[in-house]
Symmetry: C2
Subunit: 369 residues, 2 copies
């Protein structure tokens, strides 16, 4: 049961968040009215799709296929839906309900066991460790498999990517066993600078991929699956069964297209600023992982009590309307706390040095000293 | 294989539709940019929901529960998703995969067998006839049932409603057998004038209901399920598994709220104009079913060849930018064609007499005579 003090704190947090004007992380706070107005202006003359066909949606799907170098793409309301649809197609074709996954993947951690509950799939774990899976992990899963999934980066492992060589070796191991390789690319756009290869080159190693339009691209929501024509056509039928075939997906399609325009060209910059910021934070006494970061996001650890740091973040937000970071949680080591930090356009606009200065002042409690 | 002539015709149709300025049916053509701009203005100061919590979404859900007289409601991207989520909850609680449905219901006709394919449910048909199901139909399905569904109105039966007495008798039959009754209320808002009872009175006869925010309410998309607190809370978990829990549903929530403001107060008027229009069309030689219409929508039959009438509709659209009706299809009786007509704000603005005049002129080919 939450106490009255907990409830009062939660109310303070909500009020402070609603009043938030700027943030050091991501692309800054979303202003709903301004966002909708911007979308209206962007596509004032656009034609709406009708139940998934035509209009802005068709144009966006063509753009996604072109970027990812695939035959086809289908835009869907969410990644949870997108991945189930395409994995079901692979599983049916392979005649195996066994899907190889990382134990820390979104499919395992954040989806309430949707793959088993809705599709009768069996999740076979490649690894539970904070690292990308290897050909040896795959070899430990003998027999027929419906598909192998790879999350780029592994978010709950600390936004970790494989090297290009490790990635190609893993893809070859899937190929050798003739098992379809599917990329969970929720943050694929953010992964190309470190991998040193284009989107099409990365996706070209796999049989299908899912990409997301919020997160790094800053859209309102939305996802897509990309792959061969017939696989995507079959995925669309599962999309309908899931309830993802709306009268129109116009606002999300417009928002996704805006995200591709606004943020895709800046992914290398977001990564560079993350590397620069990680160095500045390390110099100030924080610990970073991975160091240097593989993408625009990393974990940071500080030798502070979680309640103290969260209280300081809230006081700072209330007095300045500036959000410093997401909430911190206690780390394994007593007295240390941890959070995730994502670099976006807001971070870049302020600059790594200034962000590090403001953040450490609040996080380490040295404000005014 | 489509011929070159087919393709040329389809291109003409698409171009004509894109240029459409007014329509005799529904709420008129959607102008995407204008629609998004209107939404931005409506809720410029609104707070966005985050993964289904808070903001405009929470306010909308409270409004739906209040209107329908239920403990709780959950807003979802689509009706296909909404109904699966709540029917799965009932089915699990009843420990029966057997769901009683009408053979012409949306669940059977338009959803690619999603209930069996995703939830392992067995669809038990109450009837395949163009009428609402009866207690006798239910008695023909002995044994344990997960839920009974009732589509109000039965769209593919010609937008048919039961009388209030028949509805209460059917609900009592479900209640007597202790089987949850779920209302497919995609057009429930449109059904209250004929039933002569409030939304809360209609939904009060059942255990749960689904409602839609496009169709009569003219929103961009979106649906909701409403019912007891614990059933809706459990439905939300299936919503997440389906992939219906987006970072924000803001545009659809804003659009749904606008629909409730703009169109809900006019449902009696839409029904009255449908009745008036049906009379005028009958007088001009068309046949209407049901006559008088139960809701704002009805089927109309004309003694014309489908190709002729569709060609005249297209020519009219090209020369005037005015859409007369949806496409016509050949009826059972040779030489007769049929289509569905839905009365909305656009119809009311022009008036039943004038709509009947313009429509019969084009449909019956008497333009200029």
């Amino acid at each position: 049961m939450p106490t009255k003090a907990d409830e009062a704190l939660e109310q303070r947090r909500q009020a402070a968040r609603a009043a938030c004007q700027t943030a050091l992380f991501g692309h800054g706070p979303v202003q709903p009215g301004a966002e909708l107005a911007a979308l209206a202006e962007l596509d004032a003359g656009a034609v709406a799709d009708r139940y998934g066909e035509g209009g802005v949606l068709a144009e966006l799907e063509a753009e996604i296929s072109r970027l990812l170098g695939t035959e086809a793409a289908s835009f869907m309301p969410s990644g949870i839906m997108a991945q189930q649809c395409v994995l079901r197609v692979w599983s049916d074709r392979q005649e195996s309900p066994r899907i190889a996954v990382h134990g820390l993947s979104h499919l395992v951690v954040h989806e309430l066991d949707a793959l088993p509950a809705l599709h009768g799939m069996v999740l076979e774990r490649l690894s539970d460790e904070e690292r990308q899976p290897t050909p040896a992990d795959l070899a430990d899963l003998p027999g027929r498999l419906g598909a192998v999934t790879l999350e780029l980066p592994l978010r709950d492992g600390g936004h970790l990517l494989p090297s290009w060589d490790d990635l190609t070796a893993f893809a070859a191991a899937c190929h050798d066993r003739q098992i379809p390789l599917h990329l969970d690319g929720a943050r694929l756009w953010e992964s190309t600078p470190y991998l040193g290869h284009s989107l099409a080159e990365v996706v070209g190693l796999a049989d299908s991929a899912y990409v997301s339009f919020y997160k790094g691209l800053g859209g309102l929501a939305g996802a897509a699956v990309a792959g061969p024509d017939d696989v995507i056509a079959e995925s669309r039928r599962w999309q309908r069964r899931h309830g993802g075939n709306l009268l129109t997906l116009l606002p999300y399609a417009v928002s996704a297209r805006a995200g591709l325009q606004r943020h895709l060209p800046r992914m290398a910059e977001y990564h560079e600023v993350a590397v620069e910021l990680a160095t500045a934070l390390s110099d100030a006494g924080l610990r970073i992982t991975p160091d240097p970061p593989h993408t625009n996001a990393f974990r940071m650890y500080a030798s502070v009590d979680e309640r103290d740091v969260n209280a300081r973040l809230l006081e700072h937000l209330e007095s300045t309307q500036e959000a410093i970071s997401a909430y911190w949680q206690g780390a394994d080591v007593p007295g240390w706390s941890v959070t995730e930090f994502t670099v976006g356009s807001a971070t870049c606009d302020i600059g790594a040095a200034e962000v590090a200065k403001r953040m450490t002042a609040v996080v380490l409690g040295s404000l005014g000293t």
